[in-house]
């Protein structure tokens, strides 16, 4: 129930004096109340919970986080590392059937 999902604003309109809009969730369009984000624009991403946009998603900080994760351990890879060992040990304890299994091996 608490689930809030990111979607892209594709249309904004007024309804009964309320700011409403259509948000695209990977191809599924839903009507969403935009009243809490008065300056949200078409084309922006937002977190939607039970039909309400609660916060805009900041593209730049999303990219920064991913970039930071990509850089993790980069130095050690060049020197041959302890961390790889730790990860392999972690990998061995990975439970069968988790989503990461196929992709990471």
């Amino acid at each position: 129930m608490c689930l809030a999902v990111p979607g892209k604003v594709v249309e904004i309109r007024e309804e009964d004096g309320t700011r409403m809009g259509q948000v695209d969730f990977g191809g599924v369009l839903k009507d969403v109340c935009l009243e809490y984000l008065p300056d949200l624009q078409v084309g922006e991403y937002t977190i939607v919970h039970v039909g309400f946009a609660l916060q805009r998603l900041d593209e730049e900080s999303a990219m920064q986080s991913l970039e930071l994760y990509r850089k993790l351990g980069a130095l050690e890879e060049e020197f041959g590392d302890q961390w790889g060992l730790a990860a392999r040990q972690a990998g061995e304890r990975r439970p069968p059937g988790t989503d990461w299994e196929e992709a990471s091996q």
Partner: protein, 372 residues
């Protein structure tokens, strides 16, 4: 979908796991507050990728699970009345009250409807002026703004046959209650990202300081959770305890000012009993005086409810992180998502249901309960 796939990337997840292993030198126990995070952790086996001795304690942040039994019984009373259309989020339907649930009321002829948004319930009220339409307003700070807006709209548009049965709860008082419990083992918190999207982070530095615990605002995808864990153990290893935001793409320090203003207008703070945990002072919201006419508890005089909890269910201990679901003797035998004895087995955000979905075939139970 954008922002979901990138933050589930298995290669990057592997890097974060490596980094956590490289950071940790001692055993640590931290709590993820939110049930959505519990779901991600159990589903992806994140706790099992952590170094030995690093334990995830599952917190009470599933609103379906902590809604007090008395309120569920009130909902059942109201929903059973003739002339009432009772609207609710779907996962409340199976939550056991004292002996029955909303599903049963529906099958016995009650008009119980599942809606996606509280605004849908308001629309039902507009379309059925001769009926009383009640929406079951539960949830944390994330769900409160949508419910607040709906009551505000009902008043603004003059929709007299709509009311809200309110049982909202707030995270910071729950963190306090957990830290004050004598059996508390929690050394750090992953705070619930979407709660902070609304409320911001200003309530947490004081708690981090007072209880000496790192509090890291954390998102819901696997990479978010791993980043939250990494930042928490990094602080713990260094002996630090500050508030960090590991979910910057969706959380600003100030939260959402428009939503906070609406909450301040529509709700007021109240003491609230949490199912399985008990009374936590000032941990809830109810409708403020200005909106009292929209409060279903005032509109429908349902009193004298004697609530009776299942005798076998140990969900209170699960919710406080004292046991893992596997340790309950009813788990997966007499208690299943189809026939839940306790609320933590109902919603997929409940710890018991998450373990049932993803862990029940795993033997032996001890391997899981150590969390390592």
């Amino acid at each position: 979908m954008k922002y979901l796939e990138e933050f589930s990337d298995p290669v990057l997840a592997g890097k974060l796991v490596e980094q956590i292993h490289a950071t940790v030198t001692k055993p640590w126990a931290m709590m993820e507050v939110c049930g959505g995070q519990t779901h991600t952790i159990v589903r992806h086996g994140i706790d099992q990728l952590l170094p030995d001795g690093v334990e995830m304690i599952h917190g009470p942040g599933c609103p379906v699970c902590v809604t007090p039994l008395e309120v569920i019984d009130k909902a059942l009373e109201i929903a059973a009345q003739p002339g009432v259309i009772f609207c609710s989020f779907g996962d409340m339907l199976r939550v056991p009250g004292s002996g029955r649930d909303l599903f049963r009321i529906k099958s016995e002829g009650g008009d119980v409807r599942v809606v996606y948004s509280p605004l849908d319930a308001l629309r039902v009220a507009q379309q059925n002026p001769d009926k009383e339409v009640v929406f079951f307003g539960i949830g944390f700070e994330t769900t409160a703004p949508p419910n607040a807006m709906t009551v505000y709209q009902a008043k603004k548009l003059g929709i007299p046959n709509f009311s809200l049965l309110v049982s909202h709860v707030r995270v910071p008082p729950a963190i306090e209650a957990i830290m004050q419990s004598p059996s508390c083992r929690v050394q750090g918190f992953l705070a619930a990202g979407h709660v902070c999207s609304v409320m911001g982070t200003s309530e947490y530095p004081e708690l981090a300081e007072r209880y000496g615990v790192p509090i890291v605002v954390t998102g819901f995808e696997p990479l978010d959770i791993l980043a939250g864990i990494l930042r928490t153990v990094s602080q713990l290893e260094k002996g630090e305890h500050v508030v960090e935001n590991a979910y910057q793409r969706a959380v600003r320090d100030e939260g959402n000012p428009a939503a906070k203003a609406m909450l301040a207008d529509v709700f007021e703070t109240t003491d609230r009993a949490w199912r399985g945990i008990g009374m936590i002072p000032r941990s809830g919201w109810r409708l403020s005086e200005r909106y009292r006419e929209y409060d279903a508890e005032y509109r429908f005089q349902v009193r004298d409810i004697v609530a009776e909890e299942s005798a076998v269910c140990r969900s209170g201990e699960v919710l406080q992180g004292l046991i893992k679901p596997h340790e309950c003797s009813a788990f997966g035998t007499v208690c299943t998502p189809r026939n839940p004895l306790g609320a933590t087995m109902v919603s997929s955000e409940g710890a018991c249901a998450a373990y049932y979905l993803y862990r029940r075939l795993e033997a032996p139970a001890e391997a899981v309960t150590t969390g390592g």
